[in-house]
């Protein structure tokens, strides 16, 4: 089956500018014939290009809100990042109630799934010598590891993401409570990012995702705000602990897992730097690594409505209010005992190698080195590749020519012109 990508290009809006080229952490974008194109094997759906594109030509495919109507019963699975999006919110309860207002029959907080995952990860940490374990929560980071750091796949903690755990438990609880068949229930994740959408279609650690669809926060924002005003607070939650809700922020996960030698890093380029250090054996005392592709964590997702820092501050206020309740919410023994380990291992998908044949790859690399040395080294992007080196790689792979470089072309034209002059002088 072909790998689904949420991040795609809207051809009609793309001007062929090079803004996105250098921002892509896996060099997955090329501009060809005036339009950007995404190399699917390399794309990790992080959404950096969506954030960067001044013409909004990079878009995320998510499910329409109307798709919930395909199911008789619908459950909303709000990411905790949703809680910080609204200007005049009184409480988290108000937002959750609003979700019932827009047409969902039930709301199950992903933050509760995070509570279950926090305990499971803490248990795994106590039972392994494999250090550091790497969080499996951010699908863009998991895919980054598959594509660029395959050696670290074995370090990804063998625990499903809070989204999957929440979806699984939401379905089970709903079916049991209402005595309805599981096929009649649709579970929809309210997502801050395209990578989560991708992970619904290409699940991590599972054959099939428990989630039936993903609706972006920006899509549901308007409708939900309207319903929140009318809402009569029909939902009884929140049913997640403050630590579970805190997963929306960078560092929230390690604080919930409670390990002192853990490290949280946000921003895909920063995550890459630290993964390089882990791969080089430079962080021998690190036990747990939480890497989130977006600055500020999920709050900074490209499909959120509000600025990440504003949203973070709002969530802090809401959490302070929720903290007044007593006692703090705990997960049940049943939730704690359930098996949320991976049902299927994560496979390597190395997209950086030049050829399957190692000898051929070596010769290709030598050619790349030679061509790179002849290119200007300005990394201007005019050729459509992010760097001169990337152009050299494209040339060797047969996807570009040296004349795609405007500087090489200028040189060539100059030489040709000189030859013409010389030729005409000879006739005289």
């Amino acid at each position: 089956m072909q790998y689904f990508h949420s991040v795609t290009l809207d051809q009609t809006k793309c001007k062929g500018c090079t803004n996105c080229l250098r921002k892509c952490p896996t060099e997955a974008i090329r501009v060809r014939e005036g339009k950007a194109m995404i190399i699917p094997q390399r794309c990790i759906d992080c959404g950096e290009c969506i954030r960067t594109c001044p013409y909004h030509a990079k878009v995320a495919t998510t499910d329409d809100f109307a798709s919930i109507n395909k199911f008789q019963y619908r459950i909303a699975l709000p990411a905790p990042a949703l809680y910080g999006q609204f200007k005049s919110t009184q409480s988290i309860q108000q937002i959750l109630s609003g979700l019932l207002g827009v047409g969902f029959d039930e709301v199950y907080e992903v933050a509760r799934g995070a509570d279950v995952v926090s305990k499971a990860v803490a248990a795994k940490l106590g039972a392994t010598d494999n250090k550091p374990l790497i969080s499996s929560a951010c699908p863009a980071v998991v895919r980054l590891i598959q594509v660029r750091f395959p050696e670290l796949i074995g370090n990804i903690v063998d625990v499903l993401s809070p989204m999957e755990v929440a979806a699984k438990n939401a379905k089970e609880e709903f079916c049991e409570k209402h005595k309805v068949p599981v096929e009649s229930v649709g579970v929809f994740f309210i997502t801050p990012c395209p990578a989560k959408m991708t992970s619904v279609r290409n699940p991590i650690g599972l054959k099939k995702s428990y989630v039936d669809g993903a609706i972006s926060i920006v899509e549901i924002y308007g409708l939900l705000s309207a319903h929140m005003k009318r809402s009569d607070f029909t939902f009884g939650g929140p049913n997640a602990s403050l630590k579970g809700i805190g997963w929306a922020n960078s560092g929230g996960e390690i604080s919930a897992v409670g390990n002192s030698s853990a490290l949280a890093v946000d921003g895909i380029h920063e995550v890459i730097q630290v993964l390089e250090e882990i791969e080089n054996g430079k962080l021998p005392n690190l036990t747990y690594f939480e890497g989130l592709a977006c600055h500020g964590g999920c709050m900074g997702g490209p499909l959120t409505f509000e600025n990440a820092y504003v949203a973070k501050n709002r969530l802090r206020t809401l959490m302070a209010r929720a903290a007044e309740r007593e006692p703090e919410i705990q997960i049940t023994a049943k939730e704690e005992q359930q098996d949320i380990s991976f049902a299927q291992y994560i496979a390597e998908q190395p997209a950086m190698k030049l050829d399957e044949n190692i000898t051929k790859a070596m010769y290709m690399l030598e050619n790349i080195e030679r061509i790179t040395a002849e290119l200007p080294g300005m990394d201007c992007g005019s050729c459509g590749a992010p760097t001169c080196r990337a152009l050299a790689e494209d040339i060797v792979k047969g996807n570009a020519t040296e004349m795609d470089c405007v500087f090489r072309l200028k040189e060539r034209v100059k030489n040709l012109a000189q030859q013409m002059i010389d030729l005409s002088n000879m006739k005289k």
């Binding site: 080089n280 950086m352 070596m362």
Partner: protein
């Protein structure tokens, strides 16, 4: 002998330049990944390359890293000019370090560099001459 290697890359390492220290091993790692060397071996070579590069930056007056490669072997050489090592067998002991305070403040100098390199490589050779410099050659088997 020399031209049987398909890949021959050379990287300069400057003494005490902690901004650039790590660049050579990062390039070596990228090269290995591009070629499709299996990931466990990439990691071993990366660790060895980084330790060797840092040793040149911390202890020597500068030097170079050389990567040679054919389909059987990957050879990593670290050659520097500098004070050399008076007692190589002592330097090979875990925990033994002569790193200056400036390097220790940056978290280096735990005395694990040379033993780590030896552990990573299939074959490890070190020669050193006081007042001249140190040459390390590590061989990694591709298959």
């Amino acid at each position: 002998m020399a031209n049987e290697y398909i890949i021959r890359e050379k990287y300069l390492v400057i003494a005490n330049d902690f901004n650039a220290a790590g660049d050579a091993s990062a390039s070596i790692k990228t090269t290995l990944k591009k070629i499709g060397v299996n990931s466990a071996l990439v990691r071993r070579i990366s660790i060895a390359a980084y330790e060797a590069e840092l040793n040149i930056a911390i202890h020597s007056e500068g030097g170079e890293m050389v990567l040679l490669m054919n389909k059987e072997d990957i050879i990593l050489q670290a050659n520097d000019h500098g004070p050399g090592i008076p007692d190589v067998s002592l330097a090979m002991k875990e925990g033994y370090s002569t790193a200056p305070e400036t390097a220790r403040m940056l978290g280096f100098g735990a005395g694990m560099g040379l033993p780590n390199m030896k552990r990573c490589a299939s074959d490890f050779q070190i020669t050193s001459e006081v007042g001249k410099g140190t040459n390390i050659q590590m061989v990694f088997k591709v298959a």
